[in-house]
């Protein structure tokens, strides 16, 4: 019942994108998100799409996977596009009904926006698809490292994130087990009104809480037994290395920005 929930969308692989340094990947993703908003016409946006398509091709991810991450956002995209379609005036009027007015400019604007959002989502899911959750938090810890100066407990935050991610599948499994056990005792979770269903969850939630606390205590004990004392002076099993590959990726991103800005200067804006 619960096994179709996928948390942490990591899709293991050994492609060029998978092997990029996660820190670089995070920064590049942020840069790409910014880059998507630079172009003012189709040439620039086309470049952004081209960049994304190349990156996806390099990552060797099944296209279906990316579609899966866009699908849930589709209603939002459509809604935004629809709003823009009627909100932006100008150009020739194509269709009119009461206060609703569909103009050519509105149509173009809606399409432009939709492509932008799709790029945004596909680009950021490329990061989570090609980077394992632990690697991701590891990289985040490093990137946020400078905040230690102003006493932000970066290591502790990252550790909490790692533990939380690690225990999601365990808790899902546990929930499944407890639900089965209560169903075996005749608990009815599939029928009744809203209130009844909420009540029916009590026999599941209480044991789940109890076992989460038990697990937390056990984990804390195990960590203390191994002399865990926070991030200070800690070395890492997996060292992150930036290499030529990462430099090349940064260079490509810079190139994208330059090209987009130049295109913006030389060609007419669409909006």
């Amino acid at each position: 019942m619960l096994n179709d929930i996928t948390i942490g969308q990591f899709f293991p692989g050994n492609s060029l994108i998978h092997r990029l340094d996660p820190r670089v990947k995070i920064l590049l993703t942020i840069a790409y998100i910014a880059a998507v908003f630079v172009p003012v016409n189709w040439y620039g946006l086309g470049l952004a799409v081209l960049f994304l398509v190349t990156a996806v091709a390099l990552s060797r991810l099944p296209v279906k996977l990316l579609w899966k991450s866009i699908k849930p956002i589709l209603p939002i995209i459509l809604f935004t596009a629809l709003l823009n379609m009627f909100y932006v005036g100008g150009g020739t009027v194509l269709w009119e009904w009461g206060i609703l007015k569909l103009t050519s400019k509105g149509l173009v604007n809606a399409a432009f926006l939709a492509v932008r959002i799709v790029c945004l989502i596909a680009g950021s899911s490329l990061l989570t698809y090609t980077t394992g959750p632990t690697t991701l938090t590891d990289a985040l810890e490093r990137l946020l490292g400078p905040l230690k100066v102003i006493r932000v407990p970066v290591h502790e935050i990252a550790m909490m994130m790692t533990i939380a991610l690690r225990f999601i599948p365990t808790l899902v499994e546990e929930t499944d087990k407890i639900m089965s056990a209560q169903k075996a005792r005749g608990a009815d979770m599939e029928s009744g009104g809203l209130l009844q269903r909420i009540k029916a969850l009590v026999p599941v939630l209480i044991p789940l809480f109890v076992s989460s606390f038990r697990r937390a205590y056990e984990l804390a004990m195990a960590m203390e037994c191994r002399c865990y004392h926070g991030g200070e002076g800690r070395t890492r099993m997996k060292q992150l290395h930036m290499g030529l590959r990462d430099a090349a990726a940064v260079a490509v991103m810079l190139l994208l920005f330059t090209a987009m800005i130049l295109l913006n200067c030389w060609t007419a804006p669409v909006l």
Partner: protein, 288 residues
């Protein structure tokens, strides 16, 4: 008529995904009323998957489960009825307790059955006695009990539904030797006095050998053997090929026989071993 019958049961986990796993393959078996069946098998052999089919927690990919001759999935809406008839105690059942008092926790199943307050109370008392819970424990919080006591509460919670068939998945896991023995004795007493059919899933060959009438051996999702206990444990080589073993005492007796001692076969409990060894010791213990 068999109380429980499994016909050509197949079950596929996560069908049509890369994680697809054929967990049960053409499993067929019959369990008679009042019988004590031990279910053994290597980890991942499908024994837990099989028992979760018996009370309708999992729905077969193909095949049928008949309870008293009727397909349990005939009316999917009434599957809860089947769960009251086939009581299921999961592994580490102490993790499912949630009520404020032991009494109320044991009463959860009977209450779901829609019984009257008096009947629920009668069943709680009876089940608590069978599970070996003292009266004064009934009003304490289940979270204050020891691990062994918690498990007893959980088992009593299923016994209180007075099912026709009681399925226990590793009820002795993690208990000390005395706790194990006590638990098994209590289950056996419950079966004798109520005429309940019992299925016991276990990793412990000793437990199964001591208590089961028949043994079902699961291997790679198939029912490899379903035979009287002595017959199953006389096929030691086959069991070992499946990553299982025979009880330690049986192994000792097999070794003794190989060395020429006339101790006979079919020894799989300590009691029987003593019975066979005594005459031998009196004779002066020499190979004949």
């Amino acid at each position: 008529m068999a109380v429980l019958e499994v016909r050509q049961l197949n079950y596929v986990y996560a069908a049509k995904t890369p994680y697809e796993k054929h967990a049960l393959k053409d499993v067929s078996l019959q369990v008679e009323q009042g019988e004590f069946v031990g279910v053994i098998g290597h980890t991942g052999s499908g024994k837990s998957t099989l028992v979760q089919h018996l009370n309708g927690l999992l729905r077969p990919t193909s095949g049928q489960i008949l309870l008293n001759g009727k397909d349990i999935w005939e009316k999917p809406k009434e599957i809860r009825r089947v769960r009251f008839e086939v009581g299921m105690v999961f592994q580490y059942p102490e993790h499912q307790l949630f009520e404020e008092t032991v009494r109320r926790d044991i009463a959860f199943g009977p209450r779901n059955m829609g019984l009257s307050d008096e009947e629920v109370e009668r069943r709680v008392q009876k089940a608590a006695t069978f599970a070996g819970l003292r009266e004064e424990l009934l009003d304490s919080s289940p979270f204050d009990l020891s691990g062994g006591q918690k498990r007893r509460v959980a088992i009593a919670g299923v016994m209180a539904m007075e099912p026709q068939v009681l399925v226990l998945d590793e009820p002795t896991a993690g208990l000390d030797p005395r706790g194990r023995e006590q638990m098994l004795r209590q289950i056996e007493r419950y079966r004798r006095e109520n005429g309940t059919t019992v299925l016991l899933v276990s990793h412990s060959m000793e437990d199964v050998a001591a208590i089961a009438d028949r043994v079902l051996v699961m291997n790679g999702g198939e029912a490899a053997m379903m035979a009287p206990t002595e017959e199953v444990f006389s096929r030691a080589e086959e069991l070992e090929a499946m990553g299982l073993s025979v009880p330690a005492v049986t192994r000792i007796f097999m070794a003794l026989r190989r060395r020429g001692y006339d101790v006979g076969d079919n020894v799989y409990t300590v009691e029987k071993a003593v019975e066979r060894l005594m005459p031998l010791l009196k004779r002066g213990c020499r190979p004949c």
